[in-house]
Symmetry: C2
């Protein structure tokens, strides 16, 4: 170039990233690893993000507190874990009968989604970036077949996240059991069923041996976004260049993480079936009762929680338009293709 | 930080990006603008990419030649425009009855897609990066209703890209008419129908006034990826940091561009319908005849074009597994949601 070379002296930066996920969930914690590698590569190693699995620095569900307290600079998590602080966290991850991945991205990146969430997060010292999604999840593993919605009444079901609120209306007894203890709880009958993620992650747990009925779809997670939480204080201390690098690296990891799930789920599903998993679709009366229950929960929250209501109004209006369009070109194409011998 | 501040003196770089799209297609050329802005922000303005609309530097379809000749450093295009050079270009954009957007991303970012395409592009001095997708397109605007596949015989149909090869087997007379002349050609009857993109872009052309039947889905574009072509020579001359910045900025633009289409298509579709567009689904016998014709075209290409065959083998095997999985959790969820009053 003919312009004089202006050298920007970028500082060396070292951030700690606490993940809510263990190393074994390679795709979920992988989102953080892809992000960290990209940031390092773009800065010639001057901006380093060290990735710590759940429990290494702070407990899995302690990442929001840790960012508020300044213990860590960033985290990779599933925001619905924090619905106990405020139900509005769930919009940044999954709400029952919510948007699918493409639709949620549209709301986040070109609708009001990211803007509304960042307003909501401001008092928590958090700036959020979508960074990964699992796509529509499986409904999980059941010891017995589900014949109708009555079979959910009294069901001891392990469920993570906000979906438990709606399942409770169907009479489900939600259990919160660490991943490592699910197998034996199902074996002993302390649990009747569990949801987890999808074939790629589920394969690692081997649950088909003790709970062979593999139901779909997880109406509580039509998509489930994972998010990069960045301390606003740490972010605002960065140069504009480094701020942009954080933003772009998160977006790159967002694409790659969904691609990994989509590429790895199909062979895992085949293997699960070959090893004895029995695929079942949830009966329509279950879906209908759950849909109705979800709308009751949302009506209650609209009354009680102004943070929820503000975001829900925009989310639900956007989703309604999305499904009107998704049903036309996208779904008719997919339905045709799914019926062909490929 | 405690480490000494090592200053990397990054060069000033200026690249010219030639788009195959006009300014009016704001979402398509927008992919290049998002990319250029991100690269500039991440480098504090030291790496500048100037975006030029179709025709400014080189003609819309001249971008591959221009990269080979070293006239430009990069381009934003729909690779299927170049199927006349080699049909294998189409895999990087759309083939009839091919993968949807999520599936194509999975193949590109976690399957063999990007790797196989870059091998194919090497003799063209091109390194490719997925940078935008339209999602499933609409089948376009027709002056008369389509009752059966017989109505395609002799139809004067404007179609861009590789889909014309399959449409020809149905008796379609493909026309290649610039966007600015479509309206009057339909009005005069020089054209019977045209495909374009989807509601957001189609709204600008006002075609419903002369060809009111708006068909779906575009089986020739179940998704259509646009791509960043970078001159391998220019790319290899960059520092590792700048190479990573190009890669990450392209991925960021990839997410944002699909999000823009998905967010903007639904209100555009509503407006088109309110102004008189008549939505119609293509009859099943049209879909079936076209599907059969596509497989004939692919069998011919597998015999004739080793570049095609090498990529098609991997693409079609991957797609088959994808649809087995997409049909389970993802499609059953979307179908349920589409049937609800939201």
């Amino acid at each position: 170039g003919t312009a004089p070379a202006i050298v920007h002296a970028q500082e060396n930066i070292r951030w700690r990233l606490a993940s809510s996920f263990p190393k074994s969930l390679d795709t979920l914690i992988g989102a953080a690893e892809v992000f960290a590698r990209s940031v390092s590569e773009m800065t010639g190693g001057k901006f380093q993000v060290t990735v710590h699995a759940a429990g290494e620095l702070v407990p899995a569900f302690g990442v929001v507190d840790a960012i508020q307290q300044g213990t860590i600079e960033c985290a990779n998590t599933a925001p619905y874990y924090f619905f106990g602080k405020d139900e509005a966290f769930a919009f940044d991850c999954a709400i029952p009968f919510g948007m699918n991945e493409r639709q949620l991205n549209a709301w986040m990146f070109d609708g009001n989604g990211m803007k509304l969430l960042r307003e909501f997060y401001a008092p928590y010292n958090i700036i959020s970036f979508p960074m990964g999604n699992t796509g529509a999840q499986m409904g999980g593993w059941f010891r017995k077949e589900i014949k109708s919605v009555a079979d959910f009444n009294g069901l001891k079901f392990r469920v993570g996240g906000f979906g438990g609120r709606v399942l409770a209306k169907l009479g489900v007894v939600s259990q919160n059991i660490p991943a490592g203890e699910i197998y034996s709880a199902l074996e002993k009958g302390a649990l009747d069923a569990t949801e987890f993620v999808g074939p790629h992650d589920d394969l690692k747990l081997g649950l088909y041996r003790v709970a062979p009925y593999y139901y779909y779809p997880a109406w509580w997670e039509g998509s489930a976004q994972t998010t990069l939480y960045v301390s606003a204080k740490a972010y605002n201390a960065l140069s504009k260049e480094y701020q942009s690098i954080v933003r772009s690296a998160a977006a790159e990891s967002h694409v790659i993480t969904q691609a990994r799930y989509d590429a790895r789920n199909p062979p895992a599903l085949k293997q699960l079936i070959s090893e004895g998993a029995k695929l079942r679709r949830l009966p329509k009366d279950v879906m209908d009762a759950a849909f109705k229950a979800s709308r009751e929960v949302y009506a209650e929250l609209n009354d009680k929680n102004p943070n929820w209501k503000k975001i829900y109004d925009d989310y639900s209006r956007f989703m309604k338009e999305q499904y009107q369009w998704t049903s036309i070109a996208e779904s008719s194409y997919d339905q045709y293709m799914a019926a062909q011998k490929l």
